[in-house]
Subunit: 235 residues, 2 copies
């Protein structure tokens, strides 16, 4: 595809980077597979900007060729404890966490993020998009399953000038799709990821709370992997 | 669906409203079909805000129950004459206009807009989304074809908590999909649409230019419909 049109580059990948453990590991996998990383983050009205600082630190750590942060105020739409004034649930058991789609679900978030990743990919001439979703460990979010990703990939190849003109064939890579959190962490450690740079906590305090669903799943993952989490926790 | 869960309302529809002729007509069709209109517009770094003023005027004209405008700065992504500093082509023939996907193509725009419409629909409890695309008269945009819309609809029903839980079944309505511009205008006139409120011009001047592709297609549509365009043109 490169030779025919010049514009599309088989080595560039758009990597969705939240600054969390999963997206960081997915980015490290893309790098290990030989891709040049073009990182993409969103300032979507999260309650805190700690996550975005981590995304910036991780992009530097992994030697990303570029990193853009798109502001998209999902608070205007509402409907989630991550963007609204709903309390983040604390101290839930892993069983409770996985039983239902939680209030921290942001409606259609990955659909919105992948759409913007696709737009960005088309503009910069990348055909490959990496996203760190896992259907094993997905906290009940429907947009973390591979059938959703397959449907998005199909859409992407109908949606864009580049695909319709046969210049590009978009692919959405999900290297963690069948990984538990522990497997993700082990893979990241193998690849030299510095997890002290990442941030998972839903709360915006100085230290990770250790009590929200995201902290609980992260800590359980490190525990199961037999690795110590380099982050400091408030409790 | 309403009786089982209460939250989803069979009469509410999210209508993508740019303030142009097509989205205004699609909204008028939704209203005529008995939907309560929840209008959604985007401030995506268009070169001018004239379009958004028209969207607001149209939402009022059609008695929309709500209207939100989401800022999403696609200029950060780039790649289009509508958002970048590329010149909008002027004085092209209809044949030239339809021959290629034009520089005014915004990468993955309808994918991004439909994703946000889906998020909004899920939050407000609507299952129906209206978009004024036409595959007859689509200026060569791949994301105006029904096969793209079908792929999006499929994605929507995999992407969302409401669909996965069986509470909602999202549908994307394309009432103009097989309409020429002239047919769209005739349908709008039948429904009482005031086209003087709408705006199609790609340039942001006081009066529509009459020379860009969008003005040309609009004028040709009114001409073919045998109806006078109530807008004033600079040339």
């Amino acid at each position: 595809m490169e030779s025919a049109h010049g514009r599309f580059n088989a080595r560039k990948a758009v990597v969705l980077l939240s600054g969390g453990l999963d997206s960081t590991t997915a980015a490290a996998v893309a790098l290990a597979e030989g891709y040049v990383l073009c990182a993409l983050s969103f300032d979507y009205g999260q309650r805190h900007s700690r996550e975005l600082e981590s995304a910036r630190a991780v992009a530097r750590h992994l030697g990303a060729a570029s990193h853009i942060v798109i502001p998209i105020d999902l608070r205007l739409i509402g409907g989630s404890a991550l963007t609204d004034e709903i309390d983040v649930p604390l101290d839930r058991s892993e069983k409770d966490i996985s039983a239902n789609i939680p209030v921290t679900y942001v409606p259609a978030r990955n659909t919105v993020f992948l759409s913007l990743a696709l737009a960005y990919a088309e503009v910069i001439g990348a055909q490959d998009i990496f996203i760190g979703v896992s259907q094993v460990d997905y906290s009940g979010y429907p947009d973390c399953r591979r059938d959703f990703i397959d449907a998005f990939e199909r859409l992407a190849n109908l949606a864009t000038k580049a695909a319709v003109e046969g210049v590009a064939r978009f692919r959405v890579h999900t290297p963690l799709i069948n990984f538990t959190k522990a497997q993700t962490i082990r893979r990241g450690i193998e690849l030299g990821v510095d997890y002290s740079l990442t941030w998972s906590c839903y709360q915006g305090n100085e230290m990770a709370c250790g009590r929200c669903d995201s902290c609980k799943l992260r800590l359980a993952g490190f525990h199961a992997a037999g690795i110590e989490d380099p982050l400091q926790y408030a409790s």
